[in-house]
Amino acid sequence: MEGSVLQAAAVAGPPVVRLAGVGKRYANGTVAVQGVELGIARGDFVSLLGPSGCGKSTVLRMVAGLIAPTTGRIEMAAGGHASGDIGFVFQEPTLMPWANALKNVMLPLRLAGVNRGEAGERAAAALASVGLAGFERSYPRALSGGMKMRVSIARALVTRPRLLLMDEPFAALDEITRHRLNNDLLTLWQAERFTAIFVTHSVFESVYLSRRIVVMAARPGRVVADIEVNATYPRGEAFRTSAEYAAHCRQVSEALHRAMGE
């Protein structure tokens, strides 16, 4: 199948994460995912795309080490599971309401024992890098949805992780804000050179962002297609309206429909 050929092409060098026959069955007997074989190349931008219930979030949480697989194993590159080496962005901003933006971003550093002064400086730099310079003292309730998500991204990046995991981070935002954050995320990805795994249910978002799209199907959750998006970066608004973009969207859309049995 075309997927396996392209996957081989994408994985250059040792993978950052490798999932070998990974499955997850919950205590109530539900099989969330089954037999997932997946290698993520260093520096890649990979989207996990699929309908709700296909286990894409479960895969992400297993990679993060938040839940353990019931079958198979997950191999991380050396040093891959140390604290601060993985950043995680949740669907909700998940900020501490009692702390201002700076203190929220400082959290991962403070938990790792970095002293207050250095953590503050690094957190301020991370906030500036997501476009929030000047909002250090703002509390989450005074920020818009997009700004809160920016704080959340700054917090995930403040430890300079090698792997950034994102679980439908922009799903709750309006379209203008989402496009803007998509662009900013790509800019950060090119500047910081982390590996990104991005969970989404939007075909358009996955094509716009990723170099590789892993399509998943539900009942049981499994990988059904692996598609490469070989458009060059940086991608801007021109890419959104190009024929190339439309062709990729069609291709991914068809794979998704096949996966859902239509």
Partner: protein, 286 residues
């Protein structure tokens, strides 16, 4: 390409509600003070009028003016008693807050501890204090300590149960985040669970403030200790025996005012602690 905030995002940030203020208070704030005040003045006026018009003797029902006069005349004795009652109330509240939080933290460490100890906290709460106060007064030699224990028993439960609830209410995603960064038990407690429990604790404190006062008064009634060093409850008993009803009312007024002041103080503490982030403190601005 550089990363910057879009005008769209900045514009959709919530705007602080800025109402016009008169002498530092909003129209709503003034209404909140003036409306009950007006009702109070009307009611006191009616009371005074009824007492005078019907020539009610002061040992049956004194008018507000006479109560006020008694309050001023007997202030010397009443002040000492008020101070003693306040001491017991605040000591009990302090110990209740300290032990309540400490026990709640202990409960939060393991479900096992919580399940085995919580029923006893409930038993302590539902046992009527009037019934066990005599026992405590017999068992404990120092009457001040006995009163303190009684007030503490009444005040302690709301703090314990609220704080326990708060410690167990931490956001699941935030818990995952702390786990991702390998936070220790202590770090999770200090940086996540205690801040989450703060509004719950303050809610408990607000209830316990009033209860500590009631506990102290009830225990004083039961103890019935005489002498100079006794609280407001004893002044009420004493005035009753001597048929000095105006003084009884004056002591009663002091107790009510104290209760209201404690409630307002706890509300202020709660507002100051939560004003930056919690919904309950933000509503005050609307």
């Amino acid at each position: 390409m550089s990363v910057s905030l879009s005008a769209n995002e900045a514009a959709s940030a919530p705007v602080e509600n800025r109402e016009r203020r008169i002498l530092g208070l909003t129209a709503e704030g003034w209404l909140r003070i003036l409306a009950p005040l007006a009702i109070g003045i009307v009611a006191l006026g009616a009371w005074e009028w009824a007492v005078r018009a019907n020539d009610v003797p002061s040992y049956i029902l004194p008018g507000p003016v006479e109560i006020g006069r008694t309050l001023v005349r007997d202030w010397g004795t009443l002040r000492v008693s008020l101070w003693i009652t306040l001491e017991i109330t605040f000591a009990a509240l302090f110990v209740a807050a300290l032990l309540g939080v400490a026990l709640a933290v202990l409960f939060a460490q393991s479900r096992m501890i919580e399940l085995s100890l919580f029923p006893y906290a409930v038993i302590l709460q539902v046992t009527p204090i009037v019934a066990i106060a005599p026992l405590i007064i017999i068992w404990v030699d120092d009457i001040r300590i006995a009163l303190l224990i009684c007030a503490w028993i009444v005040a302690f439960f709301p703090i314990l149960s609220n704080t326990t609830l708060g410690l167990n209410s931490a956001d699941h995603n935030l818990q995952d985040l702390f786990r991702l960064y390998r936070a220790s038990r202590w770090q999770v407690l200090r940086r996540l669970r205690l801040p989450t429990a703060m509004p719950y604790f303050l809610g408990g404190l607000r209830i316990s403030g009033g209860l500590a006062l009631i506990g102290a008064i009830v225990a004083e009634f039961v103890a019935g200790t005489g002498g100079r060093a006794s609280g407001l409850a004893y002044r009420i008993l004493e005035a009753g025996y001597q048929l000095q009803i105006p003084r009884m009312f004056a002591a009663l007024v002091l107790i009510s005012v104290t209760g209201v002041v404690i409630f307002l103080a706890m509300t202020l503490v709660s507002h100051l602690a939560l004003r930056h982030w919690h919904e309950s403190a933000m509503k005050e601005r609307k």
